[in-house]
């Protein structure tokens, strides 16, 4: 079933990315925008564009009714949700289906199964994918807690099942500490979340965040496209990503890739997805979660594999089998991505929205810029602060670092603060250059 028209249910650089893929495939594009995004690049590039609401996301980009209204009235064959917003909303996927519009992504069932953390963990265990050792659900009493903690080994994290935002997390270094902390944790959870349930997990240190890109078709074929190292994070926000991971051996790559494919098959997955793992210095890896959507950092995988992930997503959604087999996937060279945000690195990354007076993106061999910005464009304060993704490719990691530094140097953005100076310093930091940094890198180091 060939798509003739696709609605892009997103904004910013990813909307531009999807429109570009559609253009090359000869598919007509429909853009949607909030009032604040009237002057956006994705609006200008699309064949048709419709205002779907006021500034607030909940009234516009999350406005199911207006979105479906546009999709049906403009006779779209499919909707691409991008990332964020409704990309992992099973209800949205289902509504698309009931309106006879293809949701470019996995089934509502796959989204749901992977969205529920404990269900996802159970699915992974059944599929033989290693998970973070911990209690099987909520800890009922102190005795059970002690037994489990002895099994998984200290230090142990006590987590509130209803917790979030870093709240309801306590660390227990030994049994004595555990006994003291469990009751306190339960009471704290009850007060803060109205649910005193806590579970235990092994506390892992010196971990890298390594994720594996998979893509599957609707005919049961699932393939992995290698991994990405996303350990450079600030407050759990990724800032720099690279492919491949500097510390992964070919054997480990195979193992993790195979585990990721097993996970996808276990939930009957179709489309692009990412399995996120924590990788220890001992080479042990543990399932963290699965993102059932395309990710921000997908370009680095595209650069090292030569595969256009967005086009492949569209092809798979149309019902075609994957256009390549696992043995045809070759990881070639090294790619890195720096997320250039409208933030002031000198003032604790304070958001710096405003009008871009001058904008000149870098070029030259091996340089790619994915962005929705242009001279005169105003980065509004209402959505994320991303200006552009700067991606480079080179034959080796050293060359990729050199190229990224060169490209960052050329990247001229005036009128707002950007994180370009931060990225320059990061690329010169010896730990980053060594490649063995873990997810605590930015927390524990001055950059």
């Amino acid at each position: 079933m060939k798509f003739h028209k696709i609605l892009i249910a997103n904004r910013g650089e990813i909307a531009v990315r999807i429109i570009r893929a559609c253009r090359e495939l000869g598919i007509a594009t429909v853009a949607v925008y909030s009032e604040a995004d009237r002057e956006s690049l994705h609006v200008r590039l699309a064949d048709e564009a419709y205002c779907i609401g006021p500034t607030l996301s909940k009234d516009s980009y999350l406005n199911l009714t207006n979105l479906m209204s546009v999709a049906t009235l403009t006779e779209c064959d499919a909707v691409h949700p991008g990332y964020g917003f409704l990309a992992e909303n099973a209800d949205f996927a289902e509504i698309c289906e009931s309106c006879n519009i293809t949701f470019i992504g996995p089934s509502p069932d796959a989204i749901t199964r992977m969205g529920d953390k404990s269900e996802a963990k159970r699915t992974m265990i059944a599929a033989g994918v290693p998970v973070i050792p911990g209690s099987d659900g909520i800890v009922e009493d102190m005795d059970e807690a002690i037994v489990i903690a002895r099994e998984i080994g200290y230090p142990v994290i006590i987590k509130a099942t209803a917790g979030g935002g870093g709240k309801g997390i306590r660390l227990a270094e030994d049994e004595e500490s555990l006994i003291k902390q469990i009751t306190a944790a339960q009471q704290e959870a009850q007060k803060a979340f109205g649910n005193g349930g806590v579970y235990l997990e092994k506390y892992l240190t010196s971990m890298k965040h390594v994720e594996v890109q998979i893509i599957a078709d609707k005919h049961g074929n699932a393939v992995h496209l290698g991994e990405r190292d996303c350990s450079v994070q600030r407050r759990r926000q990724k800032l720099v990503e690279e492919a491949p991971c500097p510390v992964l051996s070919p054997e480990l790559r195979e193992e993790m890739g195979a585990a990721a494919v097993r996970a996808a098959v276990a939930v009957n997955y179709s489309g692009a997805g990412t399995l996120e793992f924590l990788l220890g210095q001992d080479g042990q890896f543990y399932f963290m979660e699965m993102n059932t959507r395309i990710q921000v950092e997908h370009p680095v995988t595209e650069m090292v594999t030569g595969i256009d992930l967005i086009q492949e997503m569209i092809s798979v959604a149309e019902g075609n089998p994957l256009s390549f087999r696992q043995d045809e996937v070759v990881i070639n060279g090294w790619s890195m991505e720096c997320r250039i945000n409208a933030e002031d690195p000198e003032r604790n990354f304070m958001p710096s929205p405003g009008k871009i007076d001058f904008y000149l993106a870098p070029g030259g061999p091996g340089v790619r810029v994915d962005s929705g910005a242009y001279p005169g464009y105003t980065i509004s304060p209402y959505y994320d602060s991303m200006i552009a993704k700067l991606i480079v490719w080179a034959p080796t990691r050293e060359q990729a670092i050199a190229k990224m530094k060169r490209a960052l140097d050329e990247f001229a953005i005036e009128g707002i603060y950007t994180t370009i100076p931060f990225h320059m310093r990061l690329l010169n930091h010896e730990t980053f250059v060594r490649g063995d940094f873990d997810i605590k890198f930015l927390e524990e180091n001055e950059v």
Binding site: G53, N66, S69, V70, T74
Partner: protein, 162 residues
């Protein structure tokens, strides 16, 4: 199809602005005006694609509406009398002037409305939403066409407040 005068006016328009290329498809015909350097090329061909206006340049919008048959784009921002109140669409949907195809329109130009008067229906996802005027006055102009897709914030009626 465009007549010679219309084509002449279009060429003049393209020439006078910084627009590089204009492509208009309408009723089976396609007109492309391109300004590659100093020379202007104009060619016309029969096409079977649906009517659409696709300006290729992003530099400067064509400020005047061509005199050719109206393109299917959203209504251009007209010079609105600031004393008039505009009723805009609160959602995306299909604009209907009456409750059913056989019924008379809710309002026509010259009709008086108060804030509870139903002025139109916006249909979205099979649900009919009646829109109220939310103002007292007289309908001066109806800006959307029956059966047209309207977007959030699109002007629908001009009302002269009383």
């Amino acid at each position: 199809m465009f007549n010679l005068n219309e084509i002449k006016e279009l060429i003049q328009l393209v020439d006078e602005t910084s627009v590089q290329e204009v492509e208009i498809e309408n009723e089976g015909s396609r007109l492309v005006i391109r300004k590659p350097s100093k020379a202007e090329t104009v060619y016309v061909q029969q096409a079977t694609t649906a009517p659409a206006v696709t300006p290729q340049a992003v530099q400067a919008p064509v400020t005047a509406t061509p005199t050719a048959s109206a393109p299917a784009a959203a209504p251009t921002a007209a010079e609105v009398d600031p004393s008039l109140h505009t009723i805009v669409s609160p959602m995306v949907g299909t604009f209907y002037r009456s409750s059913s195809p056989e019924a008379a329109p809710f309002v026509s130009t010259g009709d008086k409305v108060n804030d509870k008067s139903t002025v139109c229906i916006i249909e979205a996802m099979k649900l009919m939403n009646e829109l109220e005027a939310e103002t007292n006055g007289t309908i001066v102009e109806i800006l959307a066409e029956n059966g047209q897709l309207v977007e959030y914030g699109q002007p629908l009626f001009l009302v002269k407040p009383e």
